[in-house]
Every structure is written in structure tokens, then in C-alpha cells.
């Protein structure tokens, strides 16, 4: 068993989940079963293999260019005027569970 009750509690805390007792027990079982399967990746020697975070920098770009130059088409000047207008306040707040006419409203942030 790689993942213990304690690990599940720690990870749930990081993920901002509470989880019921039942869910925690199920999570210990499922995560262990999945991670056991995932362990087969260790059969591969990857010491000389670079990691790959995305494919966009390899295909459909000008390979003569390097680094972020490959994405020059996605850049724009840093300007003050002429940008797409932001959403109006009332539209932005319309989906909020709690808001006044200017701000999202949340419970007290500082706990005592």
C-alpha cells in the first residue's frame, strides 16, 4: 500500500476537498489500485529523455526559430488602448452565488 489514510487526508487538504469517511476509504483503495498500475512506467529507462509538457512548440511552428520566437504570431504589443473591452461588471457578477453591485462577497477571510 503506497497511499495511506494520512496521505489521503493531506492530499484532500491540498485540493480543498473535505471528503466523507466513506469517500476517504474509497480513495485509499482507488488511488492504490491506480498507482500500482501506473508503476509500470518504471520499467522504462527515461534518464536521457526530455520531459514534454505540450506539443505546440514542436509541430506547426517554424522550426528555424527558437524558444518563444516560435510563438511570435501569438504575441501582441503591450499597449494601453485598443484592447478588447473587459466584460461589464454586472455580467461578470451575474453568476456569483453572492455579490453586491461591485464585488464578489465571501465569508470572513480571517478566522479567529
Amino acid at each position: 500500500m503506497k497511499v495511506t489514510d494520512k496521505d489521503v487526508a493531506y492530499v484532500a487538504d491540498l485540493a480543498n476537498l473535505e471528503l466523507t469517511e466513506d469517500e476517504r476509504r474509497g480513495m485509499v483503495r482507488d488511488l492504490n489500485s491506480i498507482l500500482e498500475y501506473v508503476d509500470r512506467l518504471n520499467e522504462l529507462d527515461t534518464s536521457d529523455v526530455p520531459p514534454m509538457a505540450q506539443v505546440s512548440d514542436r509541430y506547426g511552428v517554424d522550426e528555424a526559430k527558437q524558444g518563444s520566437e516560435r510563438f511570435a504570431y501569438a504575441m501582441r504589443e503591450d499597449v494601453l488602448d485598443g484592447l478588447r473591452p473587459s466584460l461589464p461588471h454586472e455580467e461578470t457578477l451575474a453568476n456569483a452565488p453572492d455579490a453586491d453591485d461591485q464585488f464578489f462577497r465571501v465569508p470572513k477571510v480571517i478566522e479567529r
Binding site: E18, D30, T46, R58, G60, D98, P107
Partner: protein, 477 residues
């Protein structure tokens, strides 16, 4: 008007020639939805007002005798992970039960600019996480070909609606197979374009390095027509590529004679159902019959694709889903007193079991002490999986495989075993990881009359070739 088997061209022509109005065509589909969808469950929300407004606009153009745009009056369903201004968008999750987006997804607005009529939003697995549509927060979708079976997932509603003629075509999203696998299970065409080919602006993010938007259609030509409409650079999505978009429909007519079709033994091993194997081998023979040459290739790292995928996709998901915090657009738990309690209880109540499982797995894989062993390791194996394709495509123009190891399974059959469910994606996840395009087309049925899918994979930005091969196969059968 008979809407069964109605294609995009036939729908548009009948509106252009005023055999039917766009309004009547939309109403015919709504009538079909009314009659069939009670038992299928493909639609989550109908956007009747928006649809009729668009249909009326098209009808006015038709009355004036103006040439109509390529999708004029064509009824479409949109997977509920794509934002639609003013029309509720849930991503299949209770946490977005009341979310009404303030803007449109680029793919949707491009369809509407081309005249398509948005009927409504399609059911799917919650946040597109699933292979059976049983993870929807709003109930499962059933396979129209056999209501005791799943339609596949996560674009299950999108596939079922096309199969049951409730829409002429739909949009789905594919992160690990979510367009191709349900297309295969429901007997329709499903196309995942190259990563970066179609803008994801307005797509609710699951795993950003893997998410794609693509069409589910009745024919290969329809898939080409839709791709031509939605493809191409969008300044609103920095990952959309600046690569010219060919006329995919015109490209269909180029000959396939002499094309080299790779057959990878790793896709025909243990776990492949005998009937699926026979159907796919039969399809390969048909492709040889139209002049393609079958060439053995090897994709040796294929057995490592599922573990790689489930580490990378869950890691990215754990980050993307952090935004559902009960503040800006997600449901908030009642009676909470502190901020931290609000986050936890809102997420606990709003997310379903599979989404929580993936957030947990992804958070674990990224957490201090495990990052190198899991996430970084998976990123390195992703390189190996991508190199496999790079090497194979030195020798061949396309690769054919089964789309899924089995035909549609029964509801409940795998829902208590997450790992068994993940293995349903075994032939589809590698294309997402490598960013290459793939299409699933029907290639026969099992003895129980369940559809079987043939998958054709292509080189980056070479959708034209896989569409051409798929079209040649479709025409030959």
C-alpha cells in the same frame, strides 16, 4: 421531411431550394428530440429561442434568393463543455448547475456565422471525465442502438444525438478519446483534429495540453465540412496554431491509391475483442482493395500510454478545477461560516465521485516528494510515445487501428472499477498525448448488432489524409 440520415449538404440544399424552411427543419428536430430523448438522455438544455432566431435569419436570406453559407439552417448540438452566451453550460457538473456564460466558445460562434442552428447542449461525463457518460451529474445517456448499453464517453450525448437523428451533427471534445470512442460505440463518425487546429476559447478546461474540439457527424464529408468551418488560428486562444487550413472537402476527392497505411501490432494484442479484430482486419482489406498499401509499423511504447495519460490528465485537471471555489460562478454550499469551509463544502457537494478521484490523483502526482516519480516521469514517457509516432510516420501516411477494444458495454458494467473504465481508452489516448489527429468511422457490427469503429490516425496537421482515407473506405462499403 425525413430527417433520418439527413446530411449537412442535404439539409442546407433543402433550405436553399426552399423545400423546407430552416425554422421547420429545427422544429422537426425538436419534435424528434421530444419523442426520442426521454429514453436516450442526450440533451441537457434546449436553446429553442436562439435556434429559431437563427433559423428565421437564414429563412430571410433564402427568401431573398441569396446564396446561403455552408451550414445554413443545419441543426447542431453542442457538448455542454462549450460556452454558449446566455444558454446554461454545466459541463455535466452540479457545481455549474446554474452557470450561464457571458460569452461564446469560438467553435460555436464560427458554426453560427456559417449558418448552423444550435438546438441545445449535449449531456456528457462531468468535466468530460469518463468513458461511458455514466459520470454525468444529470444522469447517464443511453446508446440509441441498445438502450441497455452506454453510448461511450465523454461526448456520449453528442454521439447518441447524431446516431438517433436528433441533430444533423454535434460538437464534442476529446482529451483521451472522448470524441472517437463514443462515435465508435454509437456508429457515427467522430473526428479529433490536431492539437492547436481548432481554437479552444470558451471550452471549459479539463487537461489543457490534451483538450481538443471536433465534430461528430453522419458522414466523413460532413466531418470535413465542419472542420473547414471551425479550424484555424484564433487570437483568443494562444495555443491555436498558425497553420493554413486546406479545403478539407475538396481534398476528399484526391485518390488514395498508393497511400501507405500503417498497421501497428501493439493495437491488436491482448484484450481486443475477436469480433472487433475481425471487423478492423476486414476494413484493412477493403482499404487495400481501393489501392492503399498496408505496412506493418511498431509503436513500442503503447502499453505505457494509459498510465502516462492518467497522470498527466489528472495533474492538469487538479489545477484547472481549482477555479470552482464557490465564489465566481460555481454553486456555493449553504450555511458556511469561513472561507476555507466554503471552498471545501462547495467542492464536496458540487463534484461527483470520478472528478474528486481525478483531482486527488492529480494533486498527489504533483505533490512534493512525488512530482518526479509520477508527473515528471509521465512527461518523459510522453516524449517516447510521441517519438513512436514520429518514426512510424516516416514510413506511412496514416495508421489504422480499432477505436476501442470492445463494442459498447452495458450500463453499470465498469462503473465500480475505475481502472477497468480507464482501459476503454487504450487505443485512443496516445493520439491525444502526441497531439496527432484521429478519426473513428463505422466498420461493421457485432453479432448483437452493436457498431464497431475503425480509427485512422494521421500526421500533425494532416487531417486531409485521414479524412480522405476514411472517405474512400466509406464510399467502398
Amino acid at each position: 421531411m425525413e430527417i433520418a440520415s439527413l446530411t449537412i449538404d442535404a439539409a442546407r440544399a433543402s433550405v436553399q431550394e426552399r423545400q423546407i424552411t430552416a425554422v421547420a427543419l429545427a422544429e422537426a428536430h425538436y419534435a424528434r428530440i421530444q419523442k426520442e430523448d426521454g429514453q436516450v438522455g442526450a440533451f441537457l438544455t434546449l436553446s429553442r429561442e436562439r435556434a429559431l432566431e437563427q433559423a428565421e435569419r437564414i429563412d430571410r436570406l433564402a427568401v431573398d434568393g441569396k446564396p446561403l453559407p455552408p451550414l445554413a439552417g443545419v441543426p447542431v448540438g453542442i457538448k455542454d463543455v462549450m460556452s454558449t452566451r446566455g444558454v446554461r453550460t454545466t459541463a455535466g457538473s452540479k457545481i455549474l448547475e446554474k452557470y450561464v456564460p457571458p460569452y461564446d466558445c469560438t467553435a460555436v460562434s464560427r458554426l453560427e456565422s456559417a449558418g448552423a442552428v444550435v438546438l441545445g447542449k449535449m449531456n456528457c461525463d462531468e468535466f468530460a471525465m469518463g468513458s461511458s457518460n455514466e459520470n454525468s451529474g444529470y444522469g447517464p445517456v443511453r446508446n440509441p442502438r441498445d438502450l441497455t448499453r452506454v453510448p461511450g464517453g465523454s461526448s456520449g450525448g453528442s454521439a447518441a444525438a447524431v446516431a438517433a437523428d436528433m441533430a444533423v451533427f454535434t460538437l464534442g471534445s476529446d482529451t483521451g478519446g472522448s470524441i472517437r470512442q463514443p462515435a465508435s460505440f454509437c456508429g457515427v463518425v467522430g473526428l479529433m483534429p490536431t492539437y492547436g487546429r481548432v481554437s479552444r476559447y470558451g471550452l471549459i478546461a479539463f487537461a489543457s495540453s490534451l483538450d481538443h474540439i471536433g465534430p461528430l457527424t453522419k458522414t466523413v464529408k460532413d466531418a470535413a465540412t465542419v472542420l473547414r468551418t471551425i479550424a484555424g488560428r484564433d487570437p483568443m486562444d494562444s495555443t491555436s496554431a498558425e497553420v493554413p487550413v486546406p479545403d478539407y472537402v475538396a481534398e476528399l476527392e484526391k485518390p488514395v491509391r498508393g497511400l501507405k497505411i500503417g498497421v501497428a501490432k501493439e493495437y491488436f494484442g491482448e484484450g481486443l475483442d475477436d469480433e472487433v479484430r475481425a471487423a478492423v482486419e476486414g476494413a484493412i482489406d477493403k482499404l487495400k482493395g481501393v489501392g492503399c498499401e498496408a505496412v506493418p509499423v511498431s509503436l513500442p511504447h503503447t502499453p505505457y500510454a494509459i498510465p502516462t495519460y492518467y497522470l498527466i490528465a489528472t495533474a492538469e485537471a487538479s489545477s484547472n478545477l481549482a477555479r470552482y471555489d464557490g465564489v465566481r460562478y460555481s454553486q456555493r454550499a449553504r450555511g458556511v461560516r469561513t472561507l476555507s469551509e466554503m471552498y471545501r463544502r462547495s467542492r464536496d457537494e458540487g463534484f461527483g465521485a470520478e472528478v474528486k478521484r481525478r483531482i486527488m490523483l492529480g494533486t498527489y502526482a504533483l505533490s512534493a516528494g512525488y512530482y518526479d516519480a509520477y508527473y515528471l516521469k509521465a512527461q518523459k514517457v510522453r516524449t517516447l510515445l510521441t517519438r513512436d509516432f514520429d518514426e512510424a510516420f516516416q514510413k506511412v501516411d496514416a495508421i489504422v487501428t480499432p477505436t476501442s477494444p470492445t463494442a459498447a458495454f452495458r450500463l453499470g458494467e465498469k462503473s465500480n472499477d475505475p481502472l477497468a473504465m480507464y482501459l476503454a481508452d487504450i487505443y485512443t489516448v496516445t493520439a491525444d498525448l502526441a497531439g496527432i489527429p484521429g478519426i473513428s468511422i463505422p466498420c461493421g457490427e457485432t453479432r448483437e448488432k452493436l457498431p464497431i469503429g475503425l480509427q485512422i490516425l494521421g500526421k500533425h496537421f494532416d487531417e486531409a489524409t485521414i479524412l480522405r482515407v476514411a472517405h474512400a473506405y466509406e464510399q467502398a462499403t
